[in-house]
Amino acid sequence: MEALAPPAGAPDEALRILAQEGCIQCNKCTMNCPVHRVDVTFSPRKTILQAYLGGSDALSERDLWACLTCGECQAVCATEVPFPAFIRAKREALRSVRERTAPCKHGGYKEILAKIMAKPNLNQDRRGWIGDGLQVADAGDVIYFTGCMPYLDGVFTYTDTARIGKAAIKVMNAAGIVPMVSNAERCCGHDALWNGDRETFETLARRNVEWIRASGAKRLVTTCAECYSMLKYEYPKVVGDLNVEVVHMTQLIQELVAAGKLAFTKPVDLTVTYQDPCRLGRHSKEYDAPRAVLRAIPGVKLVEMDRIRENSMCCGVGAYANCDAQTKFLQQERLEEAASKAENLVTACPHCRIHFSCYLDGQPVDPLPDLKIIDVTDLAAQALG
């Protein structure tokens, strides 16, 4: 693999970010890296030493796009070397050198969607998927940020993502909240940021913060871990304060149940195990709210997997950048672990759900007991009766 050479003299920004923390070459990151387990030539430790010795252009293009940016290496590292941030910076550098050669997966669909939503004068008609019986409004105290949900079922036909959105609105309506779902909403830009297209990310961030601030709402809730990590942690770095409190749906449900505004009356008799989405867990440090919701639902029996919370294992695809032969074996390993604990794998991110469903829909590597992938908000809605 030919190394990637930015023009000479350009400051090695990626190396500067990497060298914020000192790597002691202890190999703990590589021992826990899911990609390393299936492709032994991909090794975060080797990449870091290469960068220390040869600068970040010593990194091969194969390694750059094999990384899931799931953050497990940084979580287990004693000195928290920011490897995912290094990879992101290198992808940004690459983008300016020449167009990224590995198009976003699934035919580049999400990438081009984000670019379209970055356009200025766009009046979308985003509420087609809501259907009747659910109340949403043009304004209100609580914004329900739906991100790319209206467009996912257009291509990912093996699972029904709008179902999560409907469940969220049902739960909020039950708790007396009529969420504002705005047509001015744009894609949160997560894939653009993590695939190195910083320009599109910042445009989307500015367009989104415009209507959020103008809405006068107090809180913004989202059911997607990627949107949550963007709006809560990445937007402020680009556009400053959003003037709204960003919460994930599971945090809102936990709060509503505690405040007695939400009661789960209908038991849901399922044994479930919980998949910590990387963007909600490691990236945003939210491990407990989803578990609290699951415990609050009568009839649900939560059996934890071995690798959970900071050591949770990624669903195999980060920002739709890497989906190939290797990720298939990762997904088999994780789903085998889940199937050994329960018949239902619950997660809190529509994209984990899409990737796992795509795997189950496309000939698993080895036979797997039939496992169902359910979103935690969907489960909560079922318990409302």
Partner: protein
Amino acid sequence: MTGGTRKIGVFICHCGGNISDVVDVNAVREFAAQQDEVVASTDFRFMCSNQGQARLQETIKEKGLDGVVVACCTPKMYEDMFRGSAKEAGMNPYLLEIANVREQCAYAHRHEPEQATEKAKALVAAQVAKVRNLRPLDVKTAPIHDGVAVIGAGIAGIHAALLLGNAGHKVTLIEKSPTIGGNMARFDKTFPTLDCAMCTLSPKMNDVFNHPNVDLMTYAEVKDAVRAPGRFTLTVVQKPRYVTDACIGCNRCTEACPVSGPKSPIKVESEWNLGLSPRKAIYLPFSQALPQQWTLDADHCYYFQRNHTCGICAKVCPADAIDFTQRPEEVQVEVGAVVVATGYRPFDASQIPQYGFGKYADVYHGLQVERLLSSTGPTNGKLLKKDGTPPQSVGIIHCVGSRDEKYRSYCSRVCCMASLKYAHLIRERTGARVYNFYMDMRANGKGYEEFYQRVASEQVGFVRGKPTRVTDQATAPEEEGKLTIVVEDTLAGVVLRVPVDMVVLSTAMDPEDVDGLLASLKLDKSPDGFVKEYHLKINPTETAVKGIFVAGCAQSPKDITDTIAQAGAAAMSASMFLGSGSMTLNPLVAEVNPDLCRACTRCSEVCEFDAVRVDPEALVAIVDETSCEGCGKCTVVCPTGAITVRQFTKTQIAASIDALAPKAVAP
């Protein structure tokens, strides 16, 4: 070499004014010259002329071009030619693209020259963008196996096999029934010449039977076929005859065989005579059958059906040629080409109950009448009713099953002439009154109309109308004991009831039942059930599968004249195909990047040509480049972009879309 600096040449054709009168070729040339990585941009009056080609080749050599865009007429005209001459000049032909500035710009927008020029620039820019992303393709070829198989030994198969054999090819002629000859051998006479069918057919049968280059396999059926580059491997089941080559043809076994005897519980009708007469278990279909070898039908033989209680044939056989131990045997036949000549079988008239076929004794279908009139037939050529007496009057009904939405929508083309032939022969031999009930008289071959006029002159009663039913219920004395044909004479405008002694149904032609064979050869059927040809008009003898040809009634109903013509054409095409020695594989097919493939089988699920399969061991999709047609359906359903069609990848198409986009938008 994408991404590196390419050396692209743009050549704009004036097309002798067709283009240059509307499109400002100088502006387009200047525009092209400024495009990235374009190193040569010229225009010429006739790019397709020899000088045009020479100019193209010189520039390629001179500038070392590794990409060419020719702005001229539709690629359908000269794309292959331009690619050929680029190849001669040493450039990979698949780095050449055509910008269709004639049909899509000069012609379509004659009244808006500036817009036509703008659009021409955009089309050139799009093709240059695509060429920048193309990579050279090497055209793989596969050696073609030298042999050819002809399936079906009717007149079509025999004629094709003879021509191919004479052309020096090694032919394997495979026939399902015990003898070659097909349906034609059953005929008595042929129209319009009234030659005796066997007199014209048997010389060809003998030639093919004794032809040094033709290996004949009779009583053998093709069970399966596997296709590989330049080669077909046919699995042929040689059914056991239980009679060895020692057979001297003395017929003693047939005489001794008790089957179909008066008191014999096992009875079987002769397929050859289409149920008009019984036959023994061990038999020769007809006297001039080739090979002259008896066949024992184990399904109707005491030895096999009543655990060895009989063996009379073995005992009486002077040449000790009976061998009960023979078993079916599978033979692998490897050939480079296949000619499908499986012929037709008569439409089952019992499907039309109103005509009483199978209900009334003296209702026959056309082929049965051929047997009755044939000297080798059950009645030695004398037209007799079931009760053995000659008929006084015969009614012949045309289009039975043909041209009918409920049965066969097509016209079977031959039955009008066949019906006229029967009318003539019956009149000539028995003097019986003959009526022909027809809708339209289709006598459109050479000498056909003249034959029709001649038969009309022999007092044959022609009634233009399609009979509604045949009944034995008499409503008048003259109908007693007769079969009455009820018909509206559309010329006279009156309903007639015509009592006759015998009714002949001119049944439609059905394709022979070869679904299994077609499936294994990946051949399609056209809606009427016959084998689908490559192109109905200009290529009726080839099929969609390279190396497979079709001839005779297998492709659609036709008379012997057309069958011979088509068999000759099929043989010629097959011979040319084999003669070329190797077949070039279409390079513009799918390919898989193993690193990206998730073995999720979505590509094979949508592939209509069974051209991509997932290897369960290696967990990767593998494309069979000979079956892949390059349609690209798989590339859309592939989640990882692992499978792409060469020269139509996402990067290449996206690049041309960007180049075509309106300029107002920054790229």
